[in-house]
Amino acid sequence: MRRTFSILLRNPLSLLGLILVSAVVLSAVFADFIAPFPLHRGAVVDFANFNKPPEWPYIFGTDLVGRDLFSRILYAYRISLILGVVVLAIAVPIGVAIGLFAGYLGGWTEYVLMRITDVFLSIPPLVLAMSMMGLLEPTLTNGMIAVTAMWWPWYTRLVYNLARSEKEEGYVLAAEVIGASKLHVMFREILPNCVPSILTKMTLDLGFVILIASSLSFLGLGVQPPTPDLGSMVADGAKYLPDSWWLTVFPGLAILVAVFGFNLIGDALREILGAEQ
């Protein structure tokens, strides 16, 4: 763990990733203390200061009803991160368990589970999430459900392939010959050897989940106003380009920073942990 950290710090790109991700996480967690106008996360209007370019105290400018963009971006990060963490917390265990069962047990179990997984994988992810959000009411919870539904099959596929190669290893045979249960072999012998790859993918995905959630709300299918969301901020501001450029540029940069940061760390982790893709 300490070794991992020191390698992270030595490589300039992964150091940059670490800085970006720390900035995102810290601003999400401490938004209440950092945000100059914490109330602007909700339905506030201040027509005296509407559509202002970046100037003190509105360092990222204000939106069309006079809310501080910087404060709203901090709170949008908080919601994006919560969404990302919740989606992964549900999708990863489901995907991993199905992948382990299919990869280790083989036979009919493998056939049925992997065909179901293929069905989900064959639908373009954004289309699946969009149609689900179209059917359901566009709320944060439903957004999480939609993104989770499209996310677990990727973990199934990853773990399925890992389990199929791990089960040829001698230690699996050794456990079987001793008489260990199938559950033990899957979750105590094989799973620990998949953890590096799963962790790497989770780090990369945290960025992608934020991107997908922003895409959904860009299309109006995600989090609804007045809750701040990076995707809907970009969508709202796009109508006023190029004059009110700050309405799009800063939320857009915020998405970029988060996705880029998680990607850099994910790549670094993959190298350090020697995980397979």
Binding site: E169, G170, Y171, L173, A174, A175, E176, V177, I178, G179, A180, S181, H184, R188, E189, P192, N193, V195
Partner: protein, 271 residues
Amino acid sequence: MTHPLLSLRAVSKTFHSGGREVKAVDNVSFDVAEGECLAVVGESGSGKSTIANMILGIYPQTLGEIAFKGAALPGRRDLAHRRAIQLVQQNPLSSLNPRRTIGASLRLALDVHGIGEKAGRAERTGQLLEEVGLPADFRTRPPAALSGGQRQRVAIARALACQSELVVLDEPTSALDVLVQARVLKLLADLRKSRGLTYLFITHDLSVVRNIADRVAVFEKGRLVEIGPTASVFEAPTHAYTRRLISAVPVVTVAEAALRQRLTEDADAHA
């Protein structure tokens, strides 16, 4: 009449691959007496590993019967049979889980078979390590911290943890260098004596056979072509294949190997 510990009666195994039938083991019968060490030799593809896998219950035989202490072994093994027949694999790099400690790998056998009081099992893993000549505190280490020979000792300790009666040794020394090989063979010989174990020793290395086996079974293309006491098979091989096998391998005894090792070390020291 007392039964042999293990007996195979007209055992065959056919594999299907791509529509073709491959007879890996063809009508093989032999006994393993309690306390003996039977070496199974043959070139790769001779069916010796298939025989080991059937005895271990990794897959069932196509025809014939495998009996343990006179009772036929079921295709799906119960825990008691698993406990009685254990395995030491060829490659100690892969046979221990890289993400679990040595202690956890040993403890699995104790937990699965409910051996000893739960509270004493951690200590028991230490004792097992000492029995194979390793320090007890190795149990907190990952396999990566051990050398090949040490790992193979751990694998042997794991086979002992079950208090097994028959140990299938699948080329247990072929991945080790010569000097370590000799030490591991010595350990195996000592354990056999002190614990009254029975070995089925699979190898293609005839010099190893000379050092450890009471009897030799020679396989060629899935068939048992010769079986008999080690000395007589080596001195007067009756089958042409056995003769070829023996003449093809430079026979090196443990003493010679140790001498060679010493000489090369001396040479290195002078260089």
